[in-house]
Amino acid sequence: MKKAGRRKGKVVIPGFGITMGITVSMLSILILIPLASVMAYSFKMSPFEFVKLITKPGVVNAFATSIGCAFVAAVINAVFGVMIAWVLVRYDFFGKRFIDGIIELPFALPTAVAGITLTKMYSDNGFLGKALERIGIKAAYTKIGIIIAMVFIGIPFVVRAIQPVLEKLPKSCEEAGLMLGASRAVIFRKIIFPEIMPPLLTGFGLALARGIGEYGSVIYISGNSEKNKTQVVSYIIMQKLNSGNVDYEGAAAIALILLIISFIMLFAINIVQHVASKRTSA
């Protein structure tokens, strides 16, 4: 075998320069520059105007609705995502591949189509909405509807994060646990759960972030009533851009807050994940 590299710091695998170059330019053109311009726009407002805008009751309510519903949806997704991943990894059954494929549909389906379909299904004369209505639950045009839409778009994040980890988890670990006299519950708690904790957090965080910023699938089912507090943040942003006098600065300011919140959450989840993975690998 040849020596790893003639000069110190030289990467062995060829093509580092060009792939890195493409990576950096893509990231800049597609992500960093647009994000910077969001900031630039919102900084056109005076700090006073900025604070006044984001503390308006309508805006605060929208943030509460978006974050609250996205959180509940992410928790639901975390629970059922683990279950789905478990079923898909651990059992063999007819139609397994089909179900596995279906998981990704929410990624592929245009969100507006999902939103319109969900609304139709869950409105009080839709197929599922009728049944819920009978037990006294109104789904469409309430926060429940928003949560349903967010569960729909968030579920693949959790399932796809956990699946590969579960697949790699050797059965022998569980068998060893069993041999040493652990109950099934203990095996799950002490062996399986610590392993899937980091990817679960990743999936949870992604589903949460996606839910908070979601527009297309939520907008039809939410009813957008300021009175019933079913306006989400992305709707408020669209209001600013659509209405009679376009308010770029206001829209950018709200978007900036949204970005910061998502960033903090993803950051926090990364820290927790980091700590968790350190503990399990130690």
Binding site: P14, I18, K120, S123, D124, G223, N224, Q239, S243, G244
Partner: protein, 346 residues
């Protein structure tokens, strides 16, 4: 290491980058339009509910143009919310003509320097070849007995109308209600605010746009009454015969969707003449009839009267001028903290 292979890989990578970025740039550049080639293409940027109208009109115009000049013409249609369509033109959508819901949206393109001042008088009837108004769409039989604006504020009536803060069309609904209250209470502003507050308290779903509201009412079966554009309401009658009825209130508002040539773009595309002809032809008898058939009120009085069976011509219509023009109306009613916020956030 195989140096030749490495080099080849590098070249491929560079080529790929160049090709990809060329793809991106040509994609952004848009197509070349103009009159230099055999067939002509012009782009008409319009708003949502005119889709059917312009599909029919474009066919008529293409036939007329072929007959007159012997050339084929292709008209690219673009539809969306009126405000966001105007924004797209300002930001570079290569529209030759705009046919939007509100004069205000065209003014915003004018303010961006792309349309010359005075466009409102360039074509007849304030550059509005067709008008429309707000009516009520109710379920067949009208069991709740909805006949006028008064009935909408009763307890237990569920109203569907889009959000005026995100839909231009919804602003007209609000203004029509306001005008009714104005006449009912002789301009007593407190009572008028009360009236619209009650009305909006009965709104159970507030969609972001007019089409969304129609879907909520028609497809999802929500609410007792939809405040709708007359053309949308008539279209719903046609598509679902026997399921709905139109109720024309005693007072409504005359909406004048405006058309204009985007001067900056036609100059660049060399399409000034054909764009002008495209819009002028909207005022011919044939086109006015197509307009009527698509449930817009033709601006030509004679032809409007031909459609007296379709439209209720007795309705008392106020106009945006009664509110001091669109800019003033927007600031008074729909800006942050204005009357709509005041009555709705109570």
């Amino acid at each position: 290491m195989n140096k030749g292979k490495y080099f080849a890989g590098k070249v491929t990578a560079i080529l790929l980058t160049v090709v990809l970025s060329m793809g991106i740039f040509t994609g952004c550049g848009g197509s070349n339009e103009g009159q230099d080639s055999g067939s002509i293409t012009i782009t008409n940027v319009s708003y949502d509910p005119t889709r059917e109208l312009y599909t029919a009109y474009n066919e008529l115009f293409a036939a007329h143009y072929k007959e007159e000049t012997g050339k084929d013409i292709e008209i690219v249609q673009s539809h969306g919310g009126s405000g966001s369509q105007a924004r797209s033109v300002i930001e570079g959508n290569d529209a030759d003509v705009v046919t939007l819901a509100l004069a205000h949206d065209i003014t915003s393109i004018e303010d961006a320097g792309m349309i010359d001042a005075g466009w409102l008088d360039e074509f007849p009837s304030n550059s509005s070849p067709y008008t429309s108004t707000i009516v009520f769409l109710v379920r067949s039989g009208n069991e709740k007995g909805i006949h006028d604006w008064d009935d909408l504020i009763k307890d237990g009536i569920e109203v569907i109308t889009p959000d005026p803060k995100s839909s231009g069309g919804a602003c007209w609904n609000f203004l029509a209600a306001w005008d009714y209250a104005d006449k009912k209470y002789n301009g007593d502003e407190e009572l008028m605010k009360d009236f619209v507050a009650k009305l909006y308290n009965n709104v159970i779903v507030m969609d972001s746009g007019a089409r969304g509201a129609t879907t909520t009412f028609v497809e999802n079966g929500q609410g007792d009454v939809l405040l709708a554009w007359e053309n949308e309401a008539l279209l719903a009658l046609e598509q679902y015969p026997g399921e709905y009825e139109i109720v024309t209130p005693s007072i409504s508002i005359l909406a004048e969707p405006s058309v204009a040539i985007v001067d900056e773009n036609v100059e660049k595309n060399n399409t000034a003449d054909v764009a002008k002809e495209y819009l002028e032809y909207l005022y011919t008898d044939d086109a006015q009839r197509i307009i009527g058939e698509n449930y817009y009120r033709p601006s030509n009085e004679t032809i409007l009267n031909e459609f007296a069976d379709t439209f209720d011509l007795s309705v008392n219509l106020c106009t945006i001028d009664d509110f001091g023009g669109w800019d003033k109306a927007y600031a008074d009613f729909f800006a942050d903290g204005a009357i709509f916020d005041e009555i709705y956030q109570q």
